[in-house]
Each structure stands twice: as C-alpha cells, then as structure tokens.
Symmetry: C2
Subunit: 283 residues, 2 copies
C-alpha cells in the first residue's frame, strides 16, 4: 500500500489517517472533502499529505470513506466506478444495510468492504481527529465473503495498525443491534438536553446545579446533526422499535411513581444495576 | 471544631470526611452507620478515627448526615434533640423541601443547615469515598437565614476546605430545578439500561457493539436504588413533571421520524447542540 485516499477528513476519517500513517513510511495520504476549509485544516494539521479529487482515485491502493451515510450511499457506486481493479474501498458508516444494498450488484462489489469501526467522540471536523481513537475498540465487518480475499487482507492490515477487535455480522443484524446501543443513546441524550434547555429558558439558575452526572448523560447531544439525521433516516425501522421500547419503559416508570409503587421502582433500578458488569467490559 | 460526627460513611459522607481532615490537625472524626461492616471499612480506610453511637452526639461540634433522604427526614429531629446548643447539624441530601419541613418547628432549628453538595459518582460505600470529590463543585444551601450566624460560619469553613462554590436557594426551587438536571438524568439512564438489557436477553451480541457513547449515557444506571428510591418519592411531583416533558419530547421525535420529517429532526438536534456551551461550564 502506498497511496491512500481519505474521503471526509473529519473526526473519523482524520483519526483513521493518523493511525495508518504508521503502516509504512512511504505512505502518501490524500484527502478529499466537499468542505475545502476542512481540507486545508487537515493539511495544516499534517493529517493528510495532499489534497486530491475524485479523478485521482484511479491511483489509489485504498480508499476510506468517512462521510454522512446518505452521502456514502449516493457516491459509493461512483467511487467503485473510478478505482482500478486492485483498489480496496472501505467506508465507516454507522448503518450498514442501505450501504451494502447500494452496491450489491456493482461490477466492482469485490473491491468493497463494509465496516463500522465503533469509536468516536461528540466532536467533529479535522481538529477532532485523535491518534489511537480506535485502539481496543470493536470493528464490525459486514458481508466479508463478498470482498476479494487479498483486499480483505489489506483491510485487516489497516485494522491491525488501528488496534481494533474484528466482529463479523450481516448488515441487517448490525443495524438492528446498533440501534439499541448507539442510535437510541443519541436520541436519549438529545431529548434530555432539549427537555432541560426548554425548562432553563424560564429558570435561569438551572444549569448552575448541573453536575458531572448530567454532563455524562447528555454528552452525546453535542453530536453533529449533519451526521446523525441520515443515520436515523437509513435505520428508521430499527430506531422506531428502540424508541417504542424506551418510551414504554419510561411510561411504566412514571406510572409506578404516580401510583406510589416504590418497591417496583426500587426493583427496576436494582435489576438495571446489572449494567455495571456490562460496562466493565467497555473501554 | 474538634469533634465531627459523620452519619453515613458511604460515598458522600466518606468523601466529606476525607476533605475535612485538612481543617485542623486535632480533629477527631467519628462515624455512625446502620451498616457495621461499612463502619469497620471506614475505620480501616482511616476515613474515620472511631466508631460512635447517637448518644455520643452530645459531644459533637458538627454533625454531617449523608444517608438516604427518607432516613434523614426520620432521624433529623432526633439528632437535633441529642446535640448541644452549640452544635452545627448539616445534611447532604438530594432533596430539600421534605427535610426542611421535618424540622421547621424544631426548637433547635437554628442548629441546622440544609445543604446539597452536588457531586458524586455512580459508586457507593466507604470504598467509593474520594478526597477532592467536591473541589470546584456547587453546593446549594437552603433557608440559610434560619441557621444561627456562628454555625453558618462553621459550615462555610467546612465548604471552603472542600473547595465548593456556594449558591443560596429556597427548598422548593432547589427540588424543582434539581429534578431536571439530576433526577431526570438518572431515570433516563436507568430506563436506557433497562431497554438495552431487555433486548440483549434475546440478542447476545448486542453488548459487543456498545462503545464509549453508550457507556457515558447509561453510566448513572449503576447508581444505588436504596439512595434513589426515596429521592424520587420525596420529589415525586417535580420528577413526574420532568418525565412528562421528556416522554413528550421523545414521542415528538418519534413522530417526526415516522412521518419522515428529517428537516425537523435535524433542527431538533441542531438546537440542542447549544448544550455544548452549557457543559463547558461543568467540570
């Protein structure tokens, strides 16, 4: 691998670029981004070595796409059209079914690998890129059997330098599960933030009283709407299922409180304390 | 101040004890706790210097109560009965109205100061006690005018050594505001944890996909049910109001998603991103 093209030099693309630089001292990392200011920033921060355009992709050994999932669905077929027979094309989107579907019949389907490196922060843009962001984190690979064997190997070399644990899953199972552990958490945080901000309009002291517990619970409400709107759109059915379950559990809790059933409220919390054992396994 | 009695040597009481040790080298910190194993642990960890019982409280210069809020309401009048005319009695509960009400006509009301040092972690017991936990955090003092002036001064010396910012508020305003920034966050996290655990019963891979975002949003679901059940009970009316608002916002979000109103979904998130500016002020 020599020429690597990162499409989207933000938090995820920029962090991947920082890690893969260690792959090979001769590596040249090119950046492509619809936001030219971000490209300049990535160049200044030495995240990329040079700016590039789509017509340069014919020279790529690997292309890594890290842009909103609706844009990925729309440009992924064109990117496969542009690359040569031996190029690995990967993307890092938080949904997998619509993206895999977009290229299922593409003549270069075997050049493509669908991945979801599960890591991030609530920040965005090239300045948010962090070396080591993916270390020890999980990377979900979908439909691995549809990717050419030698390109799978090229991808694994990249994930190894990033320090990721690999899990294989089909796109539908990915989207169903990730709705619970990631997409719902974001909506829960956004709506908590909204509820408190609405209240604070009339009660200006309210945020003086917010402590680290609130900060932690609402943290994901800082995330980028440009990135998250298309995720919720593409994963609509699964996200609606999680929202139904969450709203039902909140309503039940409210009903227990209304009817002074404190034994039940205690038990609901005690049973959920089990989450301790799960979180111990998450970095 | 020489003899300080901590009633409840867990996360909060233990952390206060660790800080106030720096007040004075001659200080003797006594511990009282209904859980004798916790008392032994606090002694071994040198959080307290000696165990004590309620009959010893006549010797106290200051008494600090850090136990579940229902237990505080029930024993606070007895504690005021037992202390001498010159003793400061404080408590650190997450609700204020019921506690202030419980002693409003007590002959020793002027010995009492109602406080809420807003800090904590999701852990509990003496082992969870941390020196410096309260540094830079907010402490809400209620009904300060009802406390004897020289005992106010004694309390402020303690808060100074803990490094706390003081805010004065009436108990009703405290309970109303804290329901939004603290109590609702806990329910939001507990019900998120419950929703995902219920799903995981049938889908065992789900937690393999959980990242740091989920861990942060659900963190408060590790909190102690014994502490939180009485908080929700005492602050029932305000907590129900926050739950209504939160469930309504989640339902509206769900409706926007069902009707494919992605512009609205984007705007809801963009408006809530304002939380960034608020969280910057929270340590």
């Amino acid at each position: 691998m020599k020429n690597i093209y990162i499409i989207g030099v933000g938090l995820i693309g920029g962090s991947i670029a920082k890690d893969i630089r260690h792959l090979n001292p001769d590596l040249i990392i090119y950046g492509i981004d619809s936001n030219n200011a971000h490209l300049d920033e990535a160049l200044t921060l030495k995240i990329i070595d040079a700016k590039a355009t789509f017509t340069d992709l014919k020279n790529a050994d690997a292309v890594i796409i890290a842009i909103p999932v609706d844009a990925t669905v729309s440009i992924l077929p064109n990117i496969l059209d542009l690359v040569n027979e031996d190029t690995l094309v990967m993307e890092a989107g938080s949904t997998k079914a619509a993206i895999c579907k977009a290229v299922e019949n593409h003549p270069k389907r075997r050049n493509f690998l669908a991945t979801h490196p599960i890591a991030g922060t609530e920040f965005s843009g090239p300045k948010a890129a962090l070396e080591g962001l993916f270390q020890g984190k999980t990377n979900i690979i979908c439909e691995v059997e549809k990717t050419a064997f030698k390109l799978q190997e090229r991808a694994l070399a990249i994930f190894q330098i990033m320090g990721m644990r690999i899990r294989y899953m089909n796109p539908e199972a990915h989207d169903k599960h990730i709705a619970y552990v990631s997409h719902l958490s974001h909506i829960s945080a956004f709506m908590l933030g909204k509820t408190v901000i609405e209240k604070a309009k009339n009660e200006c002291d309210i945020f003086d009283m917010a402590g680290s517990g609130f900060a932690s619970t609402v943290r994901l409400a800082k995330s980028s709407p440009a990135m998250w709107t298309p995720i919720f759109k593409q994963n609509k059915t699964n996200v609606l299922e999680t929202l139904d379950a969450y709203i039902q559990n909140l309503t039940n809790f409210k009903n227990h409180l209304e009817s002074d059933n404190y034994e039940k409220i205690h038990d609901e919390m005690a049973n959920t304390n089990y989450i301790k054992h799960i979180l111990n396994g998450i970095q």
